[in-house]
């Protein structure tokens, strides 16, 4: 049952007209609120709010389809590991994985808890770590642009 609860949500980075960055957000804990704050701030635009745009669910990347980043936001707890793995397995191809916030990066303030995985990089290779507890929405924008080489 838990496996079906976790799903990635899709966004587009609105920050830069010269680079197209697609964001798949996997929200696990409170840092996910900050991803939503990025939407409210206009930094991320929900992909499903743009029906005329190409959906990003296709398993095969098309050339020029933009830079695709999986953003993992929140604490990875041991009971959640199978669900996280399932969600990661179902995701479309991405160019990079971004650990958003202290918990996704290292376990954060819960590094001492027996039920917390100390960083999502124990499950999937991470290309960008964004510190913060939580990071601000602007830190997400800057990290995405940095990943996309802007």
């Amino acid at each position: 049952m838990l496996h079906s609860l976790l799903a990635t949500r899709e966004f587009r980075l609105a920050a830069d007209p010269l680079v197209e960055v697609r964001v798949l957000a996997l929200g696990l804990a409170c840092c996910a609120v900050e991803v939503d704050a990025a939407v409210v701030a206009g930094i991320l635009v929900p992909a499903d709010g743009e029906p005329d745009r190409e959906p990003v669910r296709e398993p095969v990347r098309e050339p020029g389809g933009g830079f695709r980043v999986l953003v993992v936001a929140g604490t990875v707890t041991t009971p959640l590991v199978p669900a996280v793995e399932a969600a990661l397995g179902q995701r479309p191809l991405v160019d990079a994985v971004l650990a958003f916030g202290a918990c996704a990066s290292t376990g954060g303030p819960y590094w001492d808890a027996p039920t917390v995985i100390n960083g999502v990089d124990r499950i999937v290779a991470v290309q960008q770590y964004v510190p913060g507890c939580p990071p601000c929405p602007e830190a997400l924008r800057d990290a995405l642009l940095s990943l996309a080489g802007r």
């Binding site: 971004l98 202290a102 990066s105 290292t106 376990g107 954060g108 303030p109 590094w111 960083g119 990089d121 991470v126 290309q127 960008q128 770590y129 964004v130 510190p131 913060g132 507890c133 990071p135 601000c136 602007e138 830190a139 800057d142 990290a143 940095s146």
Partner: protein, 109 residues
């Protein structure tokens, strides 16, 4: 401390740090580490040389930091300060550990 201070990053002012270790010991996340050594300083007119702690290395692991600000609050010498910069993602886990020079550079940009 005001509630409106921007908690972007913590700056170290190395010259103000006396290696009292209070920040390290109060940090709930254990994300601060300090290396130091002792030196004897002879002062004119003083009967005996004085032993002082000298800071060798100050690191904050921002991967573990929960930005609670306790270290900034407890520092008796105002050697730690909040700065608004938030743009320091890292490509590696260890890239989130900022050493003395990097910590000192926050706030100068």
């Amino acid at each position: 401390m005001t509630s409106r201070e921007p908690r972007g990053v913590i700056q170290l002012i190395p010259d103000a740090c006396t290696v009292c270790m209070i920040c390290v010991q109060e940090c709930p996340s254990w994300c601060i580490a300090i290396d130091s050594h002792h030196e004897e300083v002879s002062e004119e007119g003083a009967r005996r040389p004085r032993t002082v702690s000298v800071l060798d290395r100050f690191t904050i692991d921002f991967g573990l930091c929960m930005y609670c600000g306790i270290c900034v609050d407890v520092c008796p010498f105002d050697a730690l300060e909040w700065q608004p910069q938030h743009d320091y993602p890292a490509a590696t886990r260890s890239g989130l550990e900022h050493d003395t020079d990097r910590l000192a550079s926050h706030g100068s940009s």
